[in-house]
């Protein structure tokens, strides 16, 4: 009887070594708190819920402590585990282009086509990427890591994941979480900078309504856009190719079902898988490092630089534009991509100072130009540093 009791006790003791309670470290608990905070932000504050819920829950999944030595094949970094298989879409870089396909299929480039000079705002906002790149180099990161960190300033989650998976796979978790966190915090980060850099007179500036864009122009935009940008930067092909392909599905008018799938079920599925696995990749042992903290700081800086450079560029641009063609600097922030949230910030801030001044349509121009600009910038970094 005594032997049997000791057998049961040994079994229970053995089982205890497999439990999360036994294997938990302070790092796991910190990361679980971070995950819970993300879920709180998503549900209570409604900050990017479609991203923060999967990422937040992914962080919980990725930080359930278990006995790594046991070879249970449950962790995201254990080859052959289910999470590891799902994570391959991130490491091999095929989730981001599929997200771009969906973005292309849901984006209307009319504002940009009707007023193509707004493209330049999208280009100017990419200073955020290279500002962060320079600061990252100063902080001791090597050029490849600095390039991957800098892309956070492009405010484009899929682009950040795509580039970091190629240039600095070990930093990808921190970069992805940082990029998505700051995208969610766009309503908090951007307005103070926009207020700081504009005068009251500039904020109420009215822009001429965009002209009507013909179907031919809409069809030609993705084709010319692809040929031009990809001939210039072929390394941006996976992202730009899918973005423009998705847009052609939408604008051609004859592939409605394909466009519906790309901007509906497909992008939703990939968003779920991407968010969950990126969240799960933040396993405490891999994620809680000084580098991650530095990356979060650099991410914030890159967003600030990108927003400021967009707004300042518009002000500068206005100096050479005729009076009737001047641009409201409040749409300068939209060049940082983060579609469509940064454009909505322009709209909300514009309405705050003049309830009849609707800037959303105008801001969508630099906003989608920012998507193109950040994908081009990612291609350049990949070409130079890979």
């Amino acid at each position: 009887m005594g032997e049997f009791v000791s057998f049961i006790a040994n079994n229970l003791a053995d089982f205890w070594t497999y439990t999360g309670f036994c294997n938990a470290t302070p790092g796991h608990l910190v990361m679980i708190l971070v995950g819970l905070f993300f879920i709180y932000l998503a549900i209570s504050k409604e900050f990017e819920p479609m991203l923060l819920i999967p990422i937040g829950f992914g962080i919980l999944i990725g930080n359930i402590p278990f006995n790594i030595e046991a070879g249970l094949k449950v962790g995201i970094y254990e080859e052959g585990s289910v999470l590891n298989i799902l994570y391959q879409g991130v490491t091999a870089g095929w989730y981001p282009p599929l997200i771009f396909l969906g973005i292309g299929a849901m984006t209307d480039f009319s504002a940009l086509i009707s007023n193509p000079k707004l493209l330049l705002i999208g280009a100017a906002a990419q200073f955020g990427i290279f500002g962060a790149y320079m600061i990252a180099l100063e902080m001791g990161f090597n050029p490849m890591q600095a390039g991957a960190i800098g892309i956070i300033g492009g405010a484009d989650g899929p682009t950040a994941i795509f580039l970091s998976s190629k240039l600095a796979p070990n930093l990808m978790g921190a970069i992805a979480v940082s990029a998505y966190s700051y995208m969610a915090l766009v309503p908090v980060i951007q307005p103070p900078i926009m207020r700081l850099l504009t005068t009251k007179k500039e904020r109420v500036m009215r822009m001429a309504p965009p002209r009507r864009v013909s179907h031919t122009e809409k069809v030609m935009f993705p084709i010319i856009g692809l040929l031009l940008t990809c001939f210039l930067v072929p390394s941006g092909l996976p992202l730009l190719g899918m973005l423009f392909f998705g847009n052609l599905l939408k604008e051609s008018g004859v592939t409605r079902r394909l466009a519906e799938t790309a901007r509906g079920p497909l992008i939703d599925t990939i968003t779920i898988l991407l968010g969950l696995t990126v969240g799960a990749s933040t396993q405490a042992s891999e994620f809680l490092t000084w580098d991650s903290i530095k990356i979060f700081m650099l991410g914030a800086l890159s967003f600030i630089i990108a927003t400021a450079s967009g707004v300042l560029f518009v002000k500068l641009f206005n100096l050479i534009l005729p009076k009737h063609k001047r641009i409201n600097p409040l749409i300068g922030n939209a060049g940082v991509s983060a579609v469509p949230d940064s454009a909505r910030i322009s709209q909300i801030l514009g309405l705050e100072y003049d309830p009849t001044n609707y800037l959303l349509m105008h801001a969508m121009g630099p906003n989608v130009a920012g998507v193109i600009g950040s994908a081009v910038a990612a291609g350049i970094l990949l070409g130079f540093l890979m």
Binding site: Y133, R211, S214, T216, M364, A369, L385
Partner: protein
């Protein structure tokens, strides 16, 4: 008609661009290359049987796997005595992974396995080696000079054009079944670290490219927009003029009696259809991209009361 013209112009432009680009084409498109050869093996790499034989290294320079099954290795130790070895099918090991190598033993013992050929290489004499695909198309060839014992004749780097004799020194080492030059550093990154430690050069270059790309797009769409607008305006004017002409002509030729007769005929034709109305009103919603996009947006973050 207008669309047709625009498409025609675009196609013409594309052909011109393609024509310009095609002027810049270059040769050397073969994926499979001969990469290194050792003709006299005394103390170099040994095969699975522990025997030192001459070897030929093949390199897959592409980023795709290539199956060598059915390919030919041909050797000519003397003019006119070419020997062919067909790489057998059915062995999974003949699939060469991207940027990887395959090593063939020139030991005239093909029954020892797929990678043992039916020929040997002449020690101390020049020889010609060629590799052909299954369609007997020459992919790569090399004339190997007379080599000393344990010396190899190899490309300076994998797939590079230049060949050199590798004698086994610290800089020119023999590398069977592996890279001809070990890559210990990332040259691009080192260059940036050396010349652009603060990242200003990179930032300027990259921003220049981003701006150039988007400025080009801006110019094209500005011109295109203007052209399409001008064309549609002229078409509109043309249509208006024609309509006016027709109206004037009709006014001149038709009398009120004719109009009345037409109206009566139309009434008779369509009048019966509407005897009983369905009383159902159908409102066709006009699709607006802005409203559609708005549907996809999340709700504005708000403070809870």
């Amino acid at each position: 008609m207008l669309k047709m013209n625009i498409y025609k112009r675009i196609l013409t432009g594309l052909f011109i661009v393609l024509g310009l680009v095609s002027c810049n084409q270059h040769d050397g498109t073969s994926k499979i290359l001969l990469n290194e050869v050792l003709t006299d093996n005394a103390a170099n790499f040994e095969d699975d049987y522990g025997i030192h034989s001459a070897w030929i290294e093949v390199f897959n320079k592409s980023y795709n796997s290539v199956d060598l099954a059915g390919y030919f290795l041909k050797v000519s130790n003397e003019p006119g005595d070419t020997i062919s070895y067909i790489i057998p099918k059915g062995d999974v090991l003949t699939v060469v992974r991207p940027r990887q190598h395959a090593l063939f033993w020139a030991d005239a013992k093909p029954n020892r396995g797929t990678f043992h050929t039916n020929f040997t290489l002449n020690n101390g004499h020049p020889c010609w080696i060629g590799i052909y695909d299954s369609g007997n198309k020459l992919l790569d060839e090399i004339v190997v000079p007379a080599l000393k014992t344990d010396e190899s004749y190899a490309r300076v780097q994998d797939a590079s054009k230049e060949w050199e004799i590798k004698s086994g020194s610290t800089t020119k080492y023999v590398t069977p079944n592996t890279n001809n030059q070990t890559i210990e550093k990332n040259e691009k990154v080192e260059k940036f670290e050396q010349h652009d430690s603060d990242g200003i050069g990179m930032s300027l270059t990259a921003m220049l490219v981003v701006f150039s790309g988007l400025i080009l797009l801006y110019i094209i769409f500005r011109i295109l927009g203007k052209a399409i607008f001008a064309k549609s305006e002229s078409t509109k004017q043309h249509v208006n003029m024609k309509q006016e002409e027709t109206t004037n002509k009709c006014a001149e030729t038709s009398s009120n009696e004719v109009y009345a007769a037409i109206a009566m005929a139309l009434h008779e034709e369509f009048g019966g259809v509407h005897d009983i109305e369905s009383n159902i009103l159908t409102i066709r919603r006009v699709h607006s991209p802005w409203s559609a996009k708005y549907d996809a947006l999340r709700v504005i973050p708000r403070k809870k009361q």
